[in-house]
Point group: C2
Chain length 347, copies 2
Amino acid sequence: MSKKPYIRPLDFKHGCIDLTHGSGGRAMAQLIDELFLKAFDNPLLRQLNDQAAFDVPAGRMVMATDSHVVTPLFFPGGDIGSLAVHGTVNDVAMSGARPLYLAAGFILEEGFPLGDLKRIVESMAAAAEEAGVAIVTGDTKVVEQGKGDGVFINTTGFGVVPPGIDISGNRARPGDRILVNGTLGDHGVAIMSQRENLSFGTGIESDSVALHGLVAAMVETVPNLHCLRDPTRGGLAATLNELAQQSAVGMRIEESSLPLREGVRGACEFLGLDPLYVANEGKLVAICAAEDAEPLLEAMREHPLGREAAIIGEVQEDPNHFVQMQTAFGGMRMVDWISGEQLPRIC
Amino acid sequence: MSKKPYIRPLDFKHGCIDLTHGSGGRAMAQLIDELFLKAFDNPLLRQLNDQAAFDVPAGRMVMATDSHVVTPLFFPGGDIGSLAVHGTVNDVAMSGARPLYLAAGFILEEGFPLGDLKRIVESMAAAAEEAGVAIVTGDTKVVEQGKGDGVFINTTGFGVVPPGIDISGNRARPGDRILVNGTLGDHGVAIMSQRENLSFGTGIESDSVALHGLVAAMVETVPNLHCLRDPTRGGLAATLNELAQQSAVGMRIEESSLPLREGVRGACEFLGLDPLYVANEGKLVAICAAEDAEPLLEAMREHPLGREAAIIGEVQEDPNHFVQMQTAFGGMRMVDWISGEQLPRIC
Ligand SMILES: Nc1ncnc2c1ncn2[C@@H]1O[C@H](COP(=O)(O)OP(=O)(O)OP(=O)(O)O)[C@@H](O)[C@H]1O
Ligand SMILES: Nc1ncnc2c1ncn2[C@@H]1O[C@H](COP(=O)(O)OP(=O)(O)OP(=O)(O)O)[C@@H](O)[C@H]1O
Ligand SMILES: [Mg+2]
Ligand SMILES: [Mg+2]
Ligand SMILES: [Mg+2]
Ligand SMILES: [Mg+2]
Ligand SMILES: [Mg+2]
Ligand SMILES: [Mg+2]
């Protein structure tokens, strides 16, 4: 679309989204051309067809989708743009797949500053480039002021699973070990402290990051990895309960093994949150056979995103599929996946 | 998730969406289980992993995405649920691909009636079943009242292009013929008349429908089809201008050849709209070599979705890439892709 003679370029300093940016005419074409295509630039997107077309070898593919409605749009350690890339790249990666392509759907609110949109789109482009994925197709809709909230971003990812890998939530078996790649609750606490306008002096940042490089290192060491899942909404507690349900097993974790930043611990106490239920955006839970646990832990710790990895518990037989935690004081506590807290719009 | 003992089933009669339905805990799991999984049911979705995994043969694949923000949510001839399936299936199909899988991302507004959501989800499931595509993965977010508008639905589709097919917006050549499969403007007029609370007595319904069956019949007859595009937002005018730009050609269409319902013509006059700019959701524009035009037209007319197909014009050499129309009175008119009208949230 680059040859179209727009009367004047978009005004990223003072301009705002209006309804014409979503109505299929010249204003929308200009926004796509001067903002989205420029930032996301790649040959597949440049085809500008109704769809992106690409060739793949025979094999196992995966698709994952997430809409992102996080508030505030900008937070310590990231923004809705980078989060929208990391969130979907990670859901693709939790199959062991290499993420290749993203589709991006924007729902913009009338009146949203073009400058903020540009910042978000450029952050998204940088996150995609760093993750080695291409944003190959997109969509832009505009809703009236008061019918949206700045910007919502859906991303849908496509990836290719290496032969011989079979990771699924129903593969946990009694005796398996449970690992995480690092500290819990950083993303949720970063968002909540920004939202509540708290400054803890601890400078907690979101852990938002793309995990597929770590996953590649993990499956290279342990191709027979059983389960992988990123503990996002609902935190570690929701993820373990989901996996326990799917695999029809119980789980026991040890509180003393859970990696936790001091600042997160303090903020959670202050905010009345339990770090077990707080969202992460750069963490994964891995489950593997007992004999694979040490080699897996070592492989994780060698990777920059797994330096604080830990074995946090094990899978048990349990007809009730309970998740329990041995507390630091030696007692046992149920980790139900009901969570009293609600942290709306955390991602 | 079906074994979880929810305290009581969802109340589709009086219940409403609240923030807990988006916070990753038990309420969200129940909503997914009792509404989405039940309606969309298929083995890939049932895996309930972070992603859907499937095997594909080597070849050309396509991905397309659209967010749907149509208002009103229910309109003559469809609703946001069926539209969300048709819209993305059609963007996939416009490559000649067979659509296989959809991902669905929901952004729900707090307070939205569960009964309405059920109606939409069931309509979506029915449309997917009719189109022969499976909704294999999804996402559910909730925003506070006043930060959304009932429900927004993103769908992203995945499909496989048959070998030997190469349809792209840059393949129009001077001398090629331009065809449409039926009457123009039905969707936009159906939405506008509902929105303006008009009753024309003509009962115009949206043309919203999945077009890949028609496309399959077309490429069987003319494998060397050059371009396909569905004239959605911006209508026929926007689509022809896009194709003219991409292929670096001009186009000439004839007003007298354009299929148009009397009721749509009348409603457009009444509403001050030009049917050339009004959105369609069950229409396609096809461009093929001159010698393929008659066989293609015949193949289209034999299909239920192409009975009113017509050859509407031809591609010309034109360094300005103009689209022009020979009017019914014999004059020539520019069909610019700027459109004075704005029809916000038509899809
Ligand atoms: N935000 C975006 N980022 C990147 N590319 C985009 C974005 N929005 C649209 N595009 C690209 O611009 C082109 C036109 O998009 P558009 O949404 O108008 O097509 P469509 O889906 O066929 O139409 P409609 O949305 O009206 O059904 C497509 O190639 C699409 O991939
Ligand atoms: N509206 C929906 N329709 C169909 N399936 C859904 C829907 N919402 C979620 N799912 C399915 O439920 C499971 C859990 O979805 P969820 O969004 O919680 O996972 P996630 O994306 O890994 O987490 P998060 O969204 O917090 O990052 C997935 O298998 C997903 O495909
Ligand atoms: Mg289209
Ligand atoms: Mg996710
Ligand atoms: Mg679109
Ligand atoms: Mg996940
Ligand atoms: Mg579309
Ligand atoms: Mg999700």
